[in-house]
């Protein structure tokens, strides 16, 4: 079986894209911690529920960014193919 250099690069790019989206673990854990603390805060002070929810969503959306960088690298490797 003949494997050309381009094929090898494409295969390695696919593996690299898979590795890049492992970055999603971190934001997942972070968002879970934020949601858990928000739930605890609502339990302690149910009156401030709307404030707590909006603060939590804002923080989670910012924390999501690092995971999205991983996704971006994966998309670049798969669709833009900068290495070929």
């Amino acid at each position: 079986m003949n494997i050309s250099g381009t094929d090898l690069i494409l295969a390695c790019s696919a593996i690299g894209a898979g590795l890049a989206v492992i970055a999603g673990i971190g934001p997942g854990i972070g968002q879970g911690i934020a949601a858990g603390h928000a739930a605890a805060a609502v339990g302690r002070n149910p009156g401030a529920k709307s404030d707590i929810t909006s603060t939590m969503l804002l923080g989670q959306a910012v924390a999501e960014t690092t995971g999205l960088y991983g996704l971006l690298v994966a998309i670049l490797l798969l669709f833009v193919k900068p290495l070929v």
Partner: protein, 245 residues
């Protein structure tokens, strides 16, 4: 049709921006893409809404009814948001923030109506972030003296030892990049997942993708709009500093 603007009509995985027709200018080939068309549609809707709102407010009555109600609700909501974050300094920025808010919100939600969201193209989000960047630094130079900015840039170390300056400079340059990439990647991920579902599950994709549209287009789109405007306002407030005029 390969170059369709409507996402839901394609039968293959189609997440890319397509060129509709090209033209030559100064020896370069430029493309009019689907993003241009979608931005134009969003712009026309906003313009139509603005003209209608202007008409309604010309014949405004003391007790608002119908369309006047909606316009007042939107304006009050935007003013309250800007005022809540920036305080009294924010009144000058309410127009800009409100405009950007409405544009990004409508762009994000346009995925719901079958368009490819314009904000899923880096060429749309980067200028938005660069405008924020320019306003942040205009405010910084307007409200602070050069000496204060220098002290601020060397901040953890004393101002006669600018070892920390390059790191602070990188931090400043990272602001527009992270602002634009956050919005871009969020909307792009939603677009990709919807395109995958419509293309690969086309036999089963009836009715239930509506729930995913509600999450990716409405919920995620609104949150990201809010985050973009909120971060812009926070950066501007930080750049102005605590001084009262």
């Amino acid at each position: 049709m390969r170059s369709s603007i409507l996402l839901a009509t394609s039968t293959e995985v189609d997440i890319e921006v397509h060129g509709l027709f090209s033209y030559e200018l100064f020896g370069h080939t430029f493309w009019i893409t689907t993003t241009h068309v979608c931005v134009l549609i969003v712009m026309l809707i906003l313009l139509g809404f603005a003209i209608a709102a202007n008409r309604a407010m010309k014949h405004a009555s003391q007790v608002p009814t119908g369309f006047q109600n909606v316009v007042e609700l939107i304006v009050e909501m935007l003013d309250k948001m800007v005022h809540g974050v920036m305080g009294k300094k924010g009144e000058r920025f309410a127009n800009y923030i409100g405009t950007v808010f409405l544009f990004i919100l409508l762009s994000n939600i346009s995925g719901l109506f079958g368009l490819r969201p314009p904000t899923a193209d880096y060429g749309v989000t980067l200028p938005l972030a660069l405008m924020s960047f320019c306003i942040i630094h205009f405010c910084q130079f307007k409200h602070n003296s050069l000496k204060e900015i220098w002290v601020d840039m060397c901040s953890p170390l004393p101002p006669w030892l600018p070892l920390w300056l390059p790191i602070n400079l990188i931090g400043e340059i990272a602001v527009p990049i992270s602002l634009s990439l956050r919005l871009f990647a969020n909307i792009l991920s939603g677009t990709i997942i919807m395109a995958l579902i419509y293309a690969l599950l086309s036999k089963f994709a009836y009715f239930w993708p509506g729930a995913l549209h509600a999450y990716f287009d409405i919920f995620s789109g609104c949150i990201q709009t809010y985050v973009f405007c909120m971060l812009t306002m926070t950066y501007i407030t930080n750049a102005i500093g605590d001084k009262e005029e």
